[in-house]
Symmetry: C2
Subunit: 318 residues, 2 copies
């Protein structure tokens, strides 16, 4: 009874050849991704990777979390701040302070007293936010840019339309062409206080439960964890309000957060994603929505945007 459930995006080591007598098995979504041509995979620039090294675990093992930052035109004001904070090593010595089950893990300065560097953009005062996250910085359909989403899905409980944009899940309005990033598992967002303080980017969180899509358009999404999320999602849950750790000793130290290009070349993580504009991705998304591989009996006939995780994998050196 080992193989009771298929994995979401399974690594596939081999595919059985079809014989004349035997119909070709229907490939699983993971198999479609694994056998996609190399040209359908897109390298993620190391300059868009944030590398977070936590204190080693109880057994002394290193804990590295890699976050991909969102591309333009999404959330660039906050992302500019995050780049600056990483450049001045602001997070070094801060900690993971909150772990709320089925919701978020949050990190930053637990003392709330550490001075921020000068020069950070203040989103609410600088035009990054207009009418409540409804304009530049979060939405893509700004300044007349019009573009179709890849693999659009019109059935979404939270928006008029969902789909993919340069490798990222996004949602759109029923009318017009505003689109915005969505809170799927692993999404990284910017903690904030009540409006109009939109957060600086110094306080970050990632989603570790069912997609809290009600946060879309209410908090800026700036990236996603692409490796090592288990170092965050398996942390003990905080017992204080909202899952904050009550005892400072429970916090998990952050040794450093760096943009990957600041690391020595040999240590820079290298990842690639399955291009959401590729035929392979369209087949993968269709297979996610209509599981026809052997384990399944009744394909759903659809999937929500967060149930179609974009395949991402390390680049293997040749």
């Amino acid at each position: 009874m080992k193989h009771l459930l298929l994995t979401a995006v399974a690594a596939v080591s081999f595919v059985l050849p079809a014989s004349a007598d035997e119909p070709a098995p229907v490939p699983s979504p993971g198999e479609i991704a694994a056998t996609a041509p190399a040209a359908d995979w897109t390298l993620i620039a190391p300059s868009d990777l944030l590398v977070m090294d936590l204190a080693p675990d109880a057994k002394g093992k290193p804990r590295r979390v890699v976050i991909q930052l969102m591309p333009a035109p999404f959330s660039q004001g906050w992302i500019g701040n995050i780049r600056m904070l990483a450049a001045v090593h602001w997070w070094d010595g801060t900690s993971v302070n909150r772990v709320q089950d089925n919701y978020v893990v949050q990190w930053g300065d637990a003392t709330e007293k550490k001075a921020l560097p000068e020069g950070l953009a203040v989103m609410a005062e600088s035009g990054y936010v207009e009418s409540g996250f409804a304009s530049a910085g979060v939405h893509a359909g700004v300044g007349g840019t019009e573009r179709l989403l890849s693999v659009p899905v019109k059935t979404d409980a939270f928006s008029g339309l969902t789909g993919f944009w340069d490798g990222w899940p996004v949602a759109g309005a029923k009318e017009g062409y505003h689109v915005w990033p969505v809170h799927c598992y692993g999404a990284v967002g910017v903690g904030r206080n009540m409006s109009p303080d939109t957060g600086s980017g110094a306080e970050l969180y990632t989603v570790i439960g069912h997609a809290p899509r009600h946060l879309d358009r209410n908090i800026a999404v700036v990236g996603r964890v692409i490796s090592g999320i288990e170092h965050l999602s398996s942390l003990p849950r905080g017992t204080g309000a909202l899952g904050f750790y009550e005892d400072p000793a429970e916090r998990v130290g952050i040794r450093s957060i760096r943009i990957a290009i600041e690391l020595p070349a040999a240590e820079q993580p290298r990842f690639e994603y399955l291009s959401t504009e590729s035929d392979s991705f369209a087949r993968y998304a269709d297979a996610r929505a209509n599981r026809r591989d052997p384990f399944f009996i009744t394909p759903a006939g659809g999937a929500d945007i967060c149930n179609i995780p974009v395949p991402i994998r390390p680049v293997v050196a040749k």
Copy 2:
């Protein structure tokens, strides 16, 4: 920056009174639940609670997980088996064997050799399963039963309709009146091999990530974790295929699994849920779909079924 994100179903200790000058604050979903009249809460019968005691954690703290079993007409064949397995203490000495990030935690007999008691129903052969989970045991709309769902939501990526049935999230077909339980966070299901083996109920799992709704109608949902899920969701992820623990020493021992009525009366857990047929629940669900409480800027205007978790709380002794 402590209160950066509102909790999904927050416990509320007090609500500020409205003055003549100040409009009443819009209550959050958690506040609506917390202030619902006592009559809107329904006691969960201890005979429908499964109590799983894991081995204590590294600090010696007990780890108890409480699971509510689904009511008729859902999945009763498997649930009958589960009651029998608990009655003969079959799970005592078994273990949690699999923890796959953003997917499931699974428990049962890691050796796959422990004999099952005689008398278990074999679903595939006994009429519990017809045409792939599409009939008795999973669907409710069986034998002419017709009933409207509470708080129906027609926008669902995986089905024609979602809503609530006696406190449980369910989905329905576009046509006819078949409904079936859904895989939300914390749902408990029956591990199985390839069809037509539908699983006995001895191998169980719970969802610890984004709702894997593609499993609906493909695996039997038999219950949900209502307390202590953090003892499962925060376990180290398995490094083997599908998240199985590679080293037997990683497994987490199960001391016992009992139906609550088998425990001494004073030790029986007591929980209640907000009746999904109540006005309070309708207001709660509306508030989940349209966050108007102070933190929020842009209400989504909708929510998926798994983003409207049914409020469940311990019954406080008076």
